[in-house]
């Protein structure tokens, strides 16, 4: 009897939910013919990249609040952001991607994290839907996928920039690279860094830690005892935070280099009041655009959930600026398409040019952004803010 009840209950639940799910999708379909253009936001809001994903969404939301309409072919459309959480994991990404496809979006922005972008990419390609990567820096995101574009620089460029910076600034001879085992972002950057740094005559020690590791003191002490001049840690935010805290208590005294992920106020907070030296390469430096800075700070402070998503303060992360730019690139593409149809938008993207807050954006033949500079900024440990260090270009190619 119990079994029958259970069976009935699940069936009822299933039917009810089908109705919900089906209803939602059907409703979405009918609206599209109205005056709304949907932009899909393919970002993690759970899982280990949630922190970065949320900040990126924040930029898009602010841009959307600033410019909520787009004019296509003489008609004004309302732009709506449709979110799908890809859970920071490659096995949830395909279904999140097809969720967006099913909601009839015109193009997709995202994601923070290259792995999920690569997992979701084929779904967009299949559906003929263009996706603009915001901060996914792995070369394989756009390579082999005609429908994936991106507005950020690539891992090899970033590693190149940082290696050159290490040599220029610290005349470093020996570098210690630390990344998470099995994370393509970390390992990719370490390998590229090593290539450039060793080509310039330096010596590189690479090391990896297992996932969910929390004790970094052994690694840091090792770096110190091996006599490294710089420590390169292209890791995700939670680990970066952990590493900074432990380095501070160990009084490690070696400068840290970080990739764009470390440009996050959680990491910044960990360096406050310590004697750490942290330099990160990033897409945007606060102060790059006065109006954007002012606007987004107002937006963040005026909205409690935005404030929470930004980690409780109004320091602007580069990913937020990138999200903001991505939204405008998307609008440009929609305008250029002339119809708002996804096929036309995809065809229009390669010729889109946009002067964003993070610099001018144009696409090359693979779909990557043409960028030749990165901002280097350093953590001002006394005030707990980022200070601009320099604009660094890569090695001459």
């Amino acid at each position: 009897m119990k079994k029958i009840i259970a069976l009935i209950m699940t069936t009822v639940m299933a039917i009810g939910l089908t109705a919900c799910g089906g209803g939602g999708t059907a409703g979405g379909g009918s609206d599209a013919s109205g005056d709304v253009i949907r932009i899909g936001v393919f970002e993690p809001s759970t899982g280990d990249s949630a922190s970065g994903g949320k900040k990126e969404i924040l930029g898009m939301q602010y841009a959307n609040a600033e410019t909520p309409t787009v004019e296509v072919g003489g008609k004004t459309y309302k732009v709506e952001l449709v979110m799908a959480d890809n859970g920071s994991s490659a096995d949830k990404a395909p279904s999140a991607a097809s969720e967006l496809v099913g909601k009839d979006v015109s193009l997709v922005l995202g994601s923070y994290g290259s792995g999920v972008s690569m997992a979701g990419g084929p779904k967009f390609e299949e559906a003929g839907l263009a996706a603009i990567g915001v901060t996914c820096t792995n070369p394989n995101v756009t390579a082999g996928n005609d429908y994936y574009f991106r507005i950020c620089f690539l891992d090899n460029f970033q590693a190149d920039v940082l290696a050159n910076f290490a040599i220029d600034k610290f005349s470093a001879k020996k570098a210690y690279c630390l990344g998470e085992n099995g994370n393509e972002y970390d390992q990719g950057l370490c390998v590229f860094f090593k290539q450039v740094f060793e080509a310039a005559g330096g010596e590189v020690i690479t090391d990896s830690f297992p996932t969910n590791n929390s004790d970094f003191t052994s690694y840091l002490n090792k770096a110190k005892s091996e006599g490294a001049d710089v420590i390169f840690t292209p890791v995700s935010i939670a680990y970066a935070k952990q590493i900074m805290e432990q380095a501070a208590s160990l009084n490690i005294g070696i400068p840290f280099l970080g990739s764009d992920t470390l440009d996050d106020n959680m990491v910044l907070e960990a360096t406050k009041g310590t004697n750490l030296q942290l330099y990160v390469s990033t897409f945007y430096q606060e102060g790059g655009s006065e109006t954007f800075d002012k606007g987004i700070k107002e937006y963040i402070n005026g909205n409690s959930s935005a404030l929470a998503a930004n980690g409780g303060n109004d320091t602007i992360s580069a990913v937020t600026a990138m999200g903001y730019d991505a939204y405008y690139v998307a609008l440009e593409a929609i305008k250029a398409s002339g119809t708002g149809d996804k096929g036309a938008i995809k065809a229009a993207i390669p010729s889109v040019k946009w002067d964003g807050v993070s610099g001018s954006i144009a696409f090359d033949s693979i779909g990557d952004a043409v960028r030749d500079t990165a901002y280097i900024k350093t953590a001002d440990t006394a005030s707990g803010s980022w200070a601009f260090e320099k604009v660094q270009t890569g090695s001459a190619k």
């Binding site: 809001s45 090391d207 929390s214 003191t217 090792k222 110190k224 939670a238 160990l250 980690g311």
Partner: protein, 295 residues
């Protein structure tokens, strides 16, 4: 030399924190024969509560409060998720434990919004100290002594009090002790209370040392503590503690091996390999009693 000392120091502190979790495992397993998968997550929840409470209350109030609420949480989990399944097959109870762990992690993700949270800087514990040329936190020095004190106290409790005697009896023979008039449920609750309390203390030490908490922060320490408990001989408290210290030290030594060998990624894998070797060759662990299989 400095380097060796620093590696050993972090090994001891990691080991001490595993030890406090491992005691919870070993007690529960000794009595219920249940791998309490949720124990590591209880530890994580205690850490999160530490963050939220200290934000509004002074340390003298918030830390005892964290310990009390964690104890209540452990008690409630036992009553709600394990007690109804007392007569069910062992597999169901374990699945229930996995379910609880899933629930705690997802709730933590929901509440924190998936952001890594920062553990507050507790004065004194988080202060740094210089040991033989290596900088470290006070908590690293204190941990082993605190663990030792707690173990001695616990040993007294188990060997010299009525509830301790009941616990020993139940872990020897569940059915018979029930026939002898021991209130099984209160003994089990007591075990969970002790285990969760120690996990809460462990969380204060652990997260002061490694201050970023993510919803999965408890999973790995939890599993390793279980391995430590098996290593030391399940059911034996000194065994669990020694096992935990050994595992902590081995792990940091592996991490500290020269980078050119590139073996530091196997520090977790090593723990599991050790577990399998122990299970196959000496299943009763270092100090456990040989189990007699009753049919």
């Amino acid at each position: 030399m400095e380097y060796v000392i620093s590696v050993l120091l972090s090994g001891i502190s990691v080991g001490g924190q595993y030890a406090l979790i491992a005691i919870g495992y070993t007690l529960v397993y000794g009595i219920l024969r249940l791998i309490n998968f949720a124990h590591g997550d209880v530890f994580m929840v205690a850490g999160l509560m530490g963050i939220y409470f200290t934000a509004t209350m002074p340390y003298s109030v918030s830390i005892p409060l964290v310990i009390i609420i964690t104890v209540v949480l452990g008690f409630v989990i036992e009553r709600a998720a394990y007690k109804p399944l007392r007569n069910a097959p062992r597999m169901s109870v374990m699945i229930s434990a996995i379910g609880v762990s899933y629930l705690l992690q997802n709730t933590a993700t929901y509440i924190t919004g998936g952001q890594p949270m920062t553990y507050p800087v507790i004065p004194f514990l988080a202060g740094t100290v210089n040991v033989a040329g290596t900088h470290t936190k006070w908590v690293v020095i204190i941990t082993p002594f605190l663990v030792l004190a707690l173990v001695v106290a616990l040993n007294q409790l188990i060997n010299h009090t009525k509830i301790g005697m009941a616990m020993r009896a139940v872990s020897k023979d569940f059915e018979t002790s029930r026939l002898m008039g021991i209130k099984i449920n209160s003994v089990i609750s007591a075990t969970f209370i002790i285990g969760s309390g120690l996990a809460a203390v462990g969380s204060v030490l652990f997260f002061t040392n490694y201050p970023a908490i993510t919803p999965t922060a408890g999973a790995m320490p939890g599993l390793k503590a279980f391995v430590a408990a098996v290593f030391g001989g399940i059911g034996s408290i000194p065994g669990a503690v020694i096992g935990a210290f050994l595992i902590g030290i081995c792990e940091t030594i592996i991490k500290g091996l020269p980078s050119s060998w590139d073996v530091s990624v196997f520090s977790d894998a090593f723990t599991f390999a050790l577990l399998i070797v122990i299970l196959v060759f000496k299943p009763q662990g270092l100090f456990g009693e040989a189990a007699t299989d009753k049919v």
